[in-house]
Symmetry: C2
Amino acid sequence: MEKIFASIITIGDELLIGQVVDTNSPWMAQELNKIGVAVKHRVAVGDAWDDIWYALDEESKHADIILITGGLGPTADDITKPLLCEYFGGKMVVDEPTLAHVTHIFANILKRPMIERNAKQAEVPDVCTVLKNEVGTAPGMLFERDGKIFIAMPGVPHEMKWLMSNQILPLIPTKFKAPIIEHRTLLTAGIGESFLAELIQDFEAALPANIKLAYLPHYGMVRLRLTSSGFDKDAIIQQLDYQFTELKQQVSAYLVIDEDITLQAAVAQLLKKYGKTLATAESCTGGYIAHLITAMPGSSAYFTGSVVCYDNRIKTELLGVSNEVLHTVGAVSEQTVTLMASNIVKLMNTDYGIAVSGIMGPSGATDEKPVGLVWIAVADSQRVITKQFNLRFDRERNIQMTAINALNMMRMLIVDNH
Amino acid sequence: MEKIFASIITIGDELLIGQVVDTNSPWMAQELNKIGVAVKHRVAVGDAWDDIWYALDEESKHADIILITGGLGPTADDITKPLLCEYFGGKMVVDEPTLAHVTHIFANILKRPMIERNAKQAEVPDVCTVLKNEVGTAPGMLFERDGKIFIAMPGVPHEMKWLMSNQILPLIPTKFKAPIIEHRTLLTAGIGESFLAELIQDFEAALPANIKLAYLPHYGMVRLRLTSSGFDKDAIIQQLDYQFTELKQQVSAYLVIDEDITLQAAVAQLLKKYGKTLATAESCTGGYIAHLITAMPGSSAYFTGSVVCYDNRIKTELLGVSNEVLHTVGAVSEQTVTLMASNIVKLMNTDYGIAVSGIMGPSGATDEKPVGLVWIAVADSQRVITKQFNLRFDRERNIQMTAINALNMMRMLIVDNH
């Protein structure tokens, strides 16, 4: 089977000194996958002429589509455009539609005078096809050579996404006949990667050769992904669904959800399905659970709000945790989270409530309460379920693990109620 | 000057289909930079034998140190270890100290029976030096060839970080004499990249050849970074500091902070410096501002808490926004955020308060109030400062931009008060 391969080249010194995290490439890879293009390779290079040139040579050996982001800004450290011009043997010319677009942006949107440097954004190599960027000043540029295509885009995430969605992804199927790539993903909790592998080893050994199984551990949960590809879509889907049904049965005791969605999205689905509402009372997670939920569009339909009670006084005044409780068993205790959970349900008038309190580190530990000790409670109007955790990670991961465990306890309570 | 170059190879299909964001590489790059090692290249390859092999060949052409993460797990899709064994011409042997360590972890920490698959973690190529991983079962492995070193680590972030910090970073200076690499970074707000470049173009043109200037735009702010390297640390620092002082003067009207820290860390520094406290009342950011602050260790010293008032009823009941205000001017209005800000200061008994309300999209817009309309207020006990924003991005970026703008308004209010 003839696969279509892409390479992603990201350009910028900031990627090599670790000043930014590359979230562009994963997004691009996901979108390419949906149209049957497999990403073969991803490379990051600095703002250095020779390194970019070498990467273009190298990646074009292995891929049909070479996607390039970054280095198209108006400043002197951005060398991608002149380099591409020389690489493809062109000369720089003003692209009139782009100049009109840049002029329009400055006159009507930014309402600032345009300077020479901005007008330069409209200069492009005469050997490229200009891909209009409606949400920024730097256009996309398409080059073709030896049956391969090279597309350069700005590295600003929302501009890259706009160009990919509106220009590049629609263009690729007109140039290449890509196979179908299908994935089926499920999420498990409560079982480690090794034990899961043990549990399904016969299933794995018996999988048809064209179906690939991957284990993706993430914050104490493991995602399992089956992948198949080919040109007969119906046959691929039928075979993949058959194996996926089998896999779901084998891991049913640990199955969280049989879709490639986040745990918070799984909780949101349940709340919407049953018409229920949720609020959180967060000490150690400091609003992170509320953020995970409200980052999802439409969350106002089921999420009422949160009290982040970092200071113990707020636990007392807003969440009814008495000074006596705080002084005897302390803020990180079963009693405290029980009160927080049942009272956030009352305060916010919701069906469900989540409460967390713990010591995330690196400081804050006492002799009795080490870093990583966390109490979580989930409540409805009838009952409160609590659980103690002893996390063993750094602050960032402890916060994330607390949120994941709290959301999973919430999920189980809702499932149990229906 | 003889520079020491590193390449980072990350292994795993999940990186190529976009299922995970690689946060390991930026962290590794930062740490390598601190000890004078420049990252030349970063590549991501799938769990495919030929691709990994090719990447090892290729990266060793350009780098002195090749760091490899991922593919060391106990499941069948992890092929890195046998591949490295064959690549370096060794055979697999049991490493007794690792076996004892893995046995210890299962017996005393996980308290689960160990299975054959876990014991396999203790098998290593006999041509490597084992680097003990105290926080996980897969050890690091060091290979040497032709004056270059290759180090394989697990991809689990906290295990990679532990191995880097405790084994690999201390080891590198014993193998290579690396130059000093120094950076000076400042953060600006309120000026676009092009205008900033215009403002400092004479400065940039006059920079000594060994100092490099980079523009790093990020969420409506621009970071400027000066970089120099060499073996005479004092001379480098003196020259860099001289240029950095000059740069700070030139951009003084837009300078947020002259360190490479986040805006929330800059706000935290000010609060600690003046002994002040902060609380937030968040509608559209849904707890994200509180999360940014509480993600920093020690934030309980100055952060009291937050009310996430996603439901309007919470705005009324906890933050004193009357039904009349909500019905006349609405939840996304200057009046609403003014009340939220002044009342969160009273409710949480803090010196400062932040309040935000807006329409983050994609839904929720009305004829008068489009997606991206945001009102932000910052308050102390004496006054409330408000500002309207019209953001033009997607939900995720609108939330982030709102948080950044709110933190910057907070910063300016504190600075203005002192």
